[in-house]
């Protein structure tokens, strides 16, 4: 997809978001029953901001493509790495934390899996998968222990 086409889609998205904010701000309670000054209505500033976002979105939608937009969006990213990164991080943050799994175990498991899987192609090509797994395990154990110790025991911060 060309950068100009992406911009047009974003233009539609921002305009829609802006208009939705305007509608929600308009519907917001104006606290008339509390006899407040109408200029202090809670929806005033969000409504204005929604309007500005919608206008800026429209400009993005309707303008001619600018030189800076001709650059391709982040060509270095590899799709499988993007997918794996999203899966691992959201899996850890949403699927594991807060479910009763001890933090040190969850953190260690995440670090181990992430290092192992992201280094997998290079390790397999070099024939050092087993070594890579051992190295990942050692780093994972050290990182989980260090983070738990520093945050929980030294700085007295609660862990998720």
């Amino acid at each position: 997809m060309t950068a100009a086409r992406v911009d047009r889609r974003f233009g539609i998205l921002w305009t829609a978001i802006g208009l939705a904010i305007v509608v929600e701000s308009w519907r917001m309670d104006r606290l008339e029953q509390q006899h407040i000054n109408p200029w202090t209505a809670p929806g005033l500033v969000p409504g204005l901001l929604g309007l500005v976002i919608a206008v800026l979105g429209l400009v993005l939608l309707l303008r001619r493509p600018v030189a800076a937009d001709a650059q391709p969006a982040d060509a270095q990213a590899e799709p499988w790495r993007v997918g794996l990164a999203l899966l691992l991080t959201t899996g850890f943050g949403v699927g594991v934390l807060g479910t009763g799994v001890p933090f040190w175990l969850a953190a260690g498991g995440f670090v181990f899996l992430a290092i192992l899987l992201f280094e997998w192609p290079e390790r397999r090509a070099a024939g050092t998968l087993a070594r890579g797994a051992v190295q990942a395990a050692i780093i994972a154990i050290a990182a989980a222990a260090a983070i738990t110790l520093v945050f929980q025991e030294i700085f007295l911060v609660r862990l998720p």
């Binding site: 904010i21 976002i53 800026l56 800076a68 991080t89 998720p160």
Partner: protein, 506 residues
């Protein structure tokens, strides 16, 4: 004046005790290590350390954050010189000549020059911090809601215009940041906005988890998505900074210091812009501009002086107006508020010693970078060879811990994840995080200032345009907007040049 000097003396002595010195050197070293690792920014470092230091007394916590801030920006020059990859965005300009010097077998000399420039820039910035903060605070005492509304809007517009290559996208991000700040209870009536019955949303999106998401998780995803190669580090010769460089390049240092502080003071315009502007100015002023980009000492000094001078520069408006000069300064401002310090015009009246404490903290941080720049270069270089596939998963775990630790609620972790995901995709299409962050920080101020101003004037908009400071800020905002249209920009430039031509002819 003597009161100020005496207060500074008291502050210097306060931090000259063993525990504070351990914090100083520990945090500076940590900052340098983080700066050495490409992908880890000063904003992320300060955000994570804010969560780690939440239980410490305010002065200790802010000392650690400032030392880490200064250390990170300085540390980023290491990666720029030895790998041609800027450790932080602020060090991108240092790549141009630093890496060329390294290729010529002068990596150590380049690091010495970077240390000279960084220390000189920091010291100049600190001097400005000590002088300008009380003065700006005094001026700001006359400000009312009208001025604060414009200052908030001005900050977001400037940040949107200057960071990134497309002002329109910068402004959209700034406006989105201002809107996100409106979620939760409003600052005047405590009425819930956009909460939809959720107790978590009613509390608003916490600043630190949002920042950790925008700068930390988004960066983790970006780095993890790219194939990483093991970096090759150039051999290092003598790293001793030369006092002669300060004498020979004093004009460059002074010019870059002034540019760095000026850009630092501009709301939301960070160290990277200070480094590039200083570099460009040094090239224009140089008798040998053709050497720039081929290993010019002048160029490297200019870049490193500019970015380090902008650190204290960015703290000046944060302390005097509660309007941060850069994204890291925004986190610093949030950390000060978390620790019970109230930055803004009243700070010089309620807690003047704190301003001098911050000056002293910057001085100690500068001593820290000089110390580590002299004595710990070779061990620090090993950090550059650590693969990012190892660092990034650990950073992500720290992001989750950091987000959770502020209020011990999982909602903050989800906020960090949500903001980080959005920012990851937006960055791939040219949207920058800095205007969003500034909008987030200034959203409450803008909301309250606009509504209070309208109440005072009973709905009359004229004070927003007729008061002197308001008028100036309104004109700047209007010009910033107008100049983004190529046709208007061309006409304005033509008008300005014809005006100048007429004056010269006269």
């Amino acid at each position: 004046m003597f009161e100020g000097l005496s207060a500074l003396g008291v502050s210097m002595l306060t931090f000259a005790e063993p525990r504070a010195l351990v914090y100083t050197f520990g945090a500076t070293l940590l900052g340098i290590l983080i700066g050495c690792m490409p992908g880890l920014s000063a904003t992320l470092a300060i955000s994570l350390l804010t969560t780690l230091t939440i239980k410490l007394p305010a002065n200790d916590a802010i000392l650690i954050l400032i030392c880490a801030y200064v250390g990170t920006i300085y540390g980023g020059s290491r990666a720029a010189i030895l790998l041609n990859i800027p450790g932080t965005a602020a060090n991108a300009a240092a790549c141009l000549d630093g890496y060329q010097l390294a290729r010529q077998g002068l990596a150590g000399r380049a690091m010495g020059i970077a240390t000279t420039g960084s220390v000189a820039g920091s010291l100049f910035g600190i001097l400005c911090l000590a002088i300008l903060t009380p003065a700006l605070g005094e001026v700001a005492l006359t400000f009312q809601s009208y001025e604060f509304f414009w200052l908030a809007l001005f900050g977001v517009m400037m940040s949107g215009s200057i960071t990134g290559s497309d002002p329109l996208k910068g402004w959209i991000m700034g406006m989105v940041g201002l809107f996100v700040a409106q979620i939760g209870q409003d600052g005047i009536h405590a009425h819930e906005r956009f909460a939809y019955g959720s107790a978590d949303l009613a509390g608003g999106l916490s600043l630190i988890p949002t920042l950790v998401g925008a700068f930390g998780f988004a960066e983790v995803l970006t780095v993890m998505s790219e194939r990483a190669s093991r970096p090759k580090v150039h051999a290092v010769d003598s790293v001793l900074p030369r006092f002669r460089d300060v004498i020979v390049y004093w004009k460059t240092i002074l010019r870059s210091g002034v540019i760095g502080v000026y850009i630092g003071i501009l709301p939301g315009v960070g160290e990277d812009m200070a480094a590039w502007s200083s570099y460009a100015a040094a090239k224009r002023a140089s008798k040998t501009p053709e050497e720039f980009g081929k290993g010019s000492v002048d160029g490297l000094i200019a870049a490193e002086t500019g970015d380090n001078a902008s650190i204290p520069g960015g703290i000046i408006p944060a302390l005097a107006l509660a309007i941060p000069g850069s994204a890291p300064a925004a986190v610093l401002l949030a950390a000060m508020i978390i620790h019970g310090v109230k930055p803004g015009p009243m700070l010089m009246i309620e807690n003047p010693q704190f301003v001098y404490d911050v000056v002293a903290m910057n001085v100690y941080a500068t001593i820290g970078i000089l110390f580590f720049g002299l004595f710990l270069v070779r061990p620090l270089l090993k950090v550059l060879t650590i693969p990012r596939s190892i660092i990034m998963p650990i950073i992500f775990v720290l992001c989750t811990v950091g987000s959770f630790s502020i209020a011990q609620r999982l909602f903050d972790v989800w906020t960090m994840l949500g903001v980080g995901l959005c920012m990851f995709f937006l960055r791939r299409h040219g949207y920058q995080a800095a205007p969003f962050v500034l909008g987030l920080v200034l959203g409450d101020l803008m909301d309250k200032s606009l509504r209070r101003g309208l109440v005072i004037s009973d709905g009359d908009l004229s004070p927003f345009f007729t008061r002197p400071v308001c008028a100036v800020l309104a004109v700047i905002v209007a010009l910033t907007l107008a100049m983004s249209f190529p046709s208007v920009n061309a006409r304005l430039r033509a008008a300005a040049s014809s005006l100048l031509g007429r004056r010269r002819a006269a």
